[in-house]
């Protein structure tokens, strides 16, 4: 259908963005959406050559009006655009009509919508087998409802089968359905492994903290600051696609911190479905650090917090701390005013600057205060080979303090309830060992 030539993968593409807005919609909201749309394009290192906006209700044939569609096609030719990206979701026939119009105007470009752009970003960032499967699943789910129309438009002139009585539509749709079923089965297997890992971590007394928030809020920068690591963090949307987990220590206790994929407004449901297992990592953590870029205008923060709350509210029962990042860039009076304006959306607030490190100690204290209380008991082990081996297990799974060496090794052991139950098994094994006296 689109007989265009895309430039080489490493070459920057020229992109024209098209935003259709409803006539009575809020202009501030539209400008925020437009800025975010441009940022999304930058995530693929593409160059925005023009932004075309039209205030009207959607047109069935082109989404925008027919005159505006012609204007877009001419602009694409004049500015040598490689892609025209619409903010609104486009139907297959709208893409076909717009591509045809561009072809007639002499432009060599691909027409796509914002969902396809997000899919492209995800496809570029996906590096693990699991994330590649998730992206492919999302792409197939996006294609499925349009599959019949896509085939009938592209094979308009020909008929399949003997005498032209067959058709291509069913077989293409069936192929997609089969592929979706196969990927689902494979992902289910991968999800079981992930779930087993999560259960293992909980059972072993790890406290799991997840970083959540809107895309480009500074989650990866905070992750790096907390675990002292160099995870890639850029001023770009969707830098993190594959969750990363690292351990760090607070009050001598091991904590697992997970950096996750960011939320975005109007995220299509097929994408949410495909990345459900990734989001479940957030839902089942013990604590969520909801990161917000507090340097943005209050209205933008409100929208972004609203989307984050919407994503979290149904499934998450974790304790939430709202981390107000990039707060060093503001005057205290502005900060106070903005905070009061948004207080109905900010729970357990902590002001930080992940870049300069300001406020990190308060955040660490807050995480420390939320750690579940530990059970403590005095344990005695024989001072022999079996006892030493058991002692090493106690060191690995909890806090060992005030150890006294004599005929027995006596110490105070503190750990989570689940670990304490396991400690009894270890002790009974030592007691029944042949040289226990």
């Amino acid at each position: 259908m689109n007989s265009f030539q895309e430039p080489a993968a490493d070459a920057a593409r020229n992109v024209i963005l098209v935003m259709r807005t409803d006539p009575e919609s809020d202009p501030k909201d539209n400008s925020r959406k437009s800025d975010e749309f441009s940022e999304l394009v930058k995530a693929l290192n593409d160059k925005v050559t023009d932004i075309i906006v039209q205030a009207r209700y959607p047109d069935r044939k082109y989404n925008v009006g027919s005159g505006k569609a012609k204007e877009i096609a001419i602009a694409a030719r004049d500015k040598r655009a490689n892609r025209i990206i619409f903010y609104d979701p486009l139907s297959t026939s709208q893409i076909y009509n717009l591509s045809k119009l561009c072809g007639e105007a002499g432009a060599n470009c691909r027409v796509m919508d914002r969902f396809q752009l997000i899919l492209d970003i995800f496809a570029e960032r996906a590096t693990t087998h699991r994330s590649k499967l998730q992206v492919e699943l999302a792409r197939l789910r996006y294609e499925l409802p349009n599959a019949r129309m896509l085939v009938s438009l592209s094979k308009k002139e020909e008929r399949a089968g003997w005498g032209g009585l067959g058709d291509y539509e069913d077989s293409y749709e069936q192929d997609i359905k089969k592929r979706i079923a196969r990927i689902n089965a494979e992902l289910k297997k991968a999800d079981l492994e992930e779930e087993a890992r999560r259960v293992y971590r909980h059972k072993n007394g790890f406290f799991i903290v997840s970083l959540a928030g809107y895309t480009n809020a500074g989650k990866s920068t905070l992750f790096n600051a907390l675990v002292d690591e160099r995870t890639e963090s850029k001023d770009m949307f969707f830098t993190t696609l594959i969750p990363k987990t690292r351990a760090f220590v607070i009050n001598k206790r091991k904590i697992l911190l997970t950096d996750t994929v960011g939320f975005i407004e109007d995220l299509p449901h097929f994408l949410v479905d495909a990345f459900r297992s990734t989001l479940e990592g957030i839902y089942f953590s013990d604590m969520i650090l909801l990161v917000v870029d507090f340097s943005e205008p209050a209205e933008h923060i409100r929208k972004k917090l609203m989307i984050s709350h919407e994503t979290l509210w149904e499934k998450s029962t974790s304790n939430i701390v709202t981390v107000l990042n990039k707060s060093e860039t503001m005057k205290p009076a502005d900060r106070k005013k903005k905070f009061e304006e948004l207080s109905h959306l900010i729970y357990n607030p902590i002001f930080i600057s992940a870049k300069t490190g300001a406020g990190l100690s308060e955040l660490i204290d807050e995480i420390g205060m939320n750690l579940p209380p530990l059970a403590t008991r005095t344990i005695s082990l024989p001072n022999n080979e079996h006892g030493a081996s058991a002692l090493s297990w106690f060191y690995d799974n909890g806090l060992v303090e005030e150890i006294l060496y004599g005929k027995y090794m006596t110490f105070e052991f503190s750990a989570a309830e689940d670990v304490m139950a396991k400690a009894d098994d270890i002790l009974s094994k030592v007691r029944y060992s042949p040289d226990y006296n």
């Binding site: 409100r302 917090l305 609203m306 709350h309 109905h344 959306l345």
Partner: protein, 144 residues
């Protein structure tokens, strides 16, 4: 903590007796992530012969929430007001109204939804309302 009034309407579909709707409103103390206290709950039933339009919904919400003593901003689902833009919806009410935003507000809406739904089911059973009466028995509007 904030005081809000959460509102929900159940039964906006047609049954044989017409459009039998129950509106529930609750004054609640909430935090951005949780419900802390329920101050008071009220509900009202309405029967319409024709599909409710925006002014009808506004009247239903205003009538029900007027009975609540502890005031606060009204919180409702966007769909309740036909997905009307928030700025436009504010102009229709005599008190402050907002669509749900935080987790606490979403939980509040969930709570009043259960109240309105179960009240409607109970009223249908208790009043013995003839829900299979057909078009000719429908009245323009009444409190059962």
């Amino acid at each position: 903590m904030f005081t809000i009034i959460a509102v929900d309407i159940s039964g906006r579909h047609r049954i044989d007796a017409g459009y039998y709707m129950v509106c529930a409103a609750a004054s609640l103390e909430i935090t951005p992530a949780s419900l802390e206290k329920v101050n008071e709950i009220t509900s009202d039933a309405f029967l319409f012969g024709k599909p409710p339009e925006l002014p009808d919904i506004v009247r239903i919400i205003e009538t029900t929430t007027s009975k609540i003593k502890k005031k606060g901003p009204l919180i409702t689902e966007r769909g309740e007001l036909f997905n009307l833009d928030e700025n436009l919806s504010k102009a229709l009410f005599s008190q402050e109204i907002r669509y749900q935003e935080s987790i606490g507000e979403r939980k509040a809406i969930e709570l009043v939804h259960y109240v309105s739904l179960s009240t409607r089911n109970l009223l249908l059973r208790e009043t013995g309302m003839n829900i299979t009466a057909g078009e000719e028995n429908t009245k323009e509007e009444e409190d059962p």
